[in-house]
């Protein structure tokens, strides 16, 4: 069975999107060698999780956080590392906790509620995720 995914390979200034159709195993090897990559869609979470066990790149973490926050963006103001999640966006506290749950499963970590309470900005959330991923 073939699986299709969209891979986004990005550098500091550019973003390259590829559509890839491959067997999960083949894809796993692609992912193992690539660090700055994010993958979206498709039911391949398990394969991807296995491929991601070792450390998360900063860009990847930020990008995953932004994916969840975009629906709550206000006006034209871009979401950056300094964005104060509960203040600059239209997201309420419950939705923040739900987003955290999704991030937990995506990165296979747990972020305790008391830790979440101390997080204000996108950067702080990314720091926490990276720290917990490294400890895994």
């Amino acid at each position: 069975m073939k699986h299709g995914v969209t891979i986004c390979h990005f550098t500091r200034d550019h973003c390259f999107w590829h559509k890839v159709t491959a067997h999960p195993r083949a894809l796993e090897s692609v992912l193992r060698t690539a660090h700055q990559m994010i993958v979206e869609t498709d039911g391949m979470t398990d394969t991807l999780e296995r491929a991601r066990v070792s450390g998360q790149s900063r860009g990847e973490v930020i990008r995953e956080i932004c994916r969840h926050l975009v629906p709550f963006q206000t006006g034209e103001r871009p979401i950056t590392g300094d964005t104060v999640i509960a203040k600059d966006l239209t997201i309420d506290s419950l939705a923040i906790m739900d987003m955290v749950m999704e991030l937990e499963d995506h990165f296979d970590i747990s972020i305790p509620m008391n830790v979440v309470a101390e997080i204000h900005t996108v950067d702080q959330l990314a720091d926490t995720i990276q720290k917990l991923c490294a400890r895994r």
């Binding site: 506290s93 419950l94 939705a95 955290v100 296979d108 509620m113």
Partner: protein, 408 residues
């Protein structure tokens, strides 16, 4: 910054809620006539939002027991049990609840909220891990604010989500304490308790189950979801309330743990608040007898649930996922929910309106709670009224109505 500035957003939302001229959160019951009727705004209303699942608030035997207790022992205890002592009736009530569950110990609290608040925050302490369902009741969330334990939420009613979180803890030291509810209060759905218990056993986690909305309603003897799913022995702590099926107020926790009684001098919400007054204890003891003696009330409750749930579903309403004593009706947004609620009040029916942030996933709901003593006519009338309002507000699609509703 002023004291109330931080509530500015909520204040604004609250203003919106009151635009219909009534405040759904400050309704005045001018006179309560029975478990199913009250005078509101000078007119008789059908009550379908009071958690009075067995209708025992007006049970003559419970009322008599309470009156007798007041004559015998006065109106209140004026203090906590560690200061003013336990009345014999407190102890008798605890024994009766313990026996009801076949557990060794029981502790009674002044409210169900305090039972959860005190127990959960005390049982899980520093170095422990507390795992709670994302849709947990406020009392559970508040306990999480008080505990020194690490708190992690898992996805609502999802044992695999709990499994992942317990797995991630690996061999880290600390007790794992999992909190579940029998029936969830907003949508009336019940937990896959057996599957949850399996996960908890796999990781050696303690289980606390709150049967607030399921006491009386579930299980052959009305013990709740722990009975209907056959896992009473696997639940380390079962919590519940006297304020719903038992028609009074108060909370309890039962357990087989040999050291359970230490909680009487460690749980602050037990130690530092006045104990239940004699009248409440007496009516609860009697209500428990009624629950045991009249299983037909449970049958009647479920028959009524079926009437309301199936009736509303047939008209095209989007409801909670399963039959339950709480029937949650999904509405597209808070303002529609409030408008719908107000229209029902105008039509003589009182239900609850539930909107974010009090609801899971930001849903807006009319929350109906069914009573064993609602008549079929009352419920059928309610379905008719709701269908009319639903059509008026454009919540019900006319085409769906014709197809689903069939010949009317």
């Amino acid at each position: 910054m002023g004291l109330f500035d931080r509530h500015a957003g909520l204040l604004e939302a609250y203003r919106d809620v009151r635009t219909t001229g009534y405040d759904p959160f400050q309704i005045r019951m001018e006179r309560v006539l029975s478990p199913t009727e009250a005078i509101i705004n000078g007119r008789k209303m059908l009550l379908v939002g009071t958690n009075n699942y067995f209708g025992l608030t007006f049970d003559p035997s419970c009322m008599e027991a309470a009156i007798e207790a007041i004559r015998a022992e006065g109106t209140g205890t004026t203090g906590s049990r560690i200061a003013n002592g336990s009345y014999s009736e407190h102890v008798a009530l605890e024994q009766e609840i313990a026996e009801f569950y076949g557990k060794k110990h029981c502790m009674v609290f002044t409210t169900g909220y305090q039972a959860n608040l005190g127990l959960i925050s005390t049982l899980a302490g520093e170095g422990d891990q507390l795992l709670i369902d994302a849709d947990s009741h406020a009392s559970i969330y508040d306990a999480c604010k008080m505990t020194q334990a690490e708190v992690v939420r898992f996805k609502h009613n999802d044992p695999s989500s709990l499994d992942a979180r317990l797995r991630r803890l690996g061999d880290r030291p600390g007790n794992r304490v999992v909190v579940l509810e029998g029936i969830y209060s907003m949508l009336g759905d019940s937990a896959p308790l057996r599957e949850f218990i399996d996960v908890c056993k796999k990781y050696g986690a303690y289980v606390i189950v709150d049967e607030a909305h399921s006491l009386g309603a579930l299980g052959d003897n009305g013990r709740g979801l722990c009975e209907s799913t056959g896992v009473i022995d696997d639940c380390h702590f079962i919590v519940g309330t006297f304020s719903k099926t038992l028609g009074a107020i108060g909370g309890y926790c039962v357990s087989d743990d040999p050291d359970f009684d230490i909680l009487r001098v460690t749980v602050r919400s037990y130690m530092f608040t006045a104990s239940l007054p004699p009248s409440i204890v007496a009516s609860v003891r009697q209500a428990l007898k009624v629950v045991k003696a009249k299983p037909e009330l449970r049958t009647q409750l479920w028959s009524n649930v079926s009437t309301l749930y199936e009736g509303l579903a047939a008209k095209g309403f989007k409801l909670g996922p399963e039959h339950g004593p709480v029937v949650g009706v999904h509405l597209p947004d808070p303002m529609t929910a409030i408008g719908f609620w107000r229209a029902m009040l105008d039509a003589g029916i009182y239900v609850n309106v539930a909107i974010p942030p009090a609801t899971p996933n930001g849903v807006s709901l009319l929350r109906c709670s069914v009573c064993a003593v609602h008549t079929k006519e009352q419920l059928e009338h309610m379905i008719e009224v709701m269908t009319g309002i639903g059509r008026q507000l454009g919540v019900l699609d006319d085409r769906t109505l014709r197809v689903v509703g069939g010949a009317r």
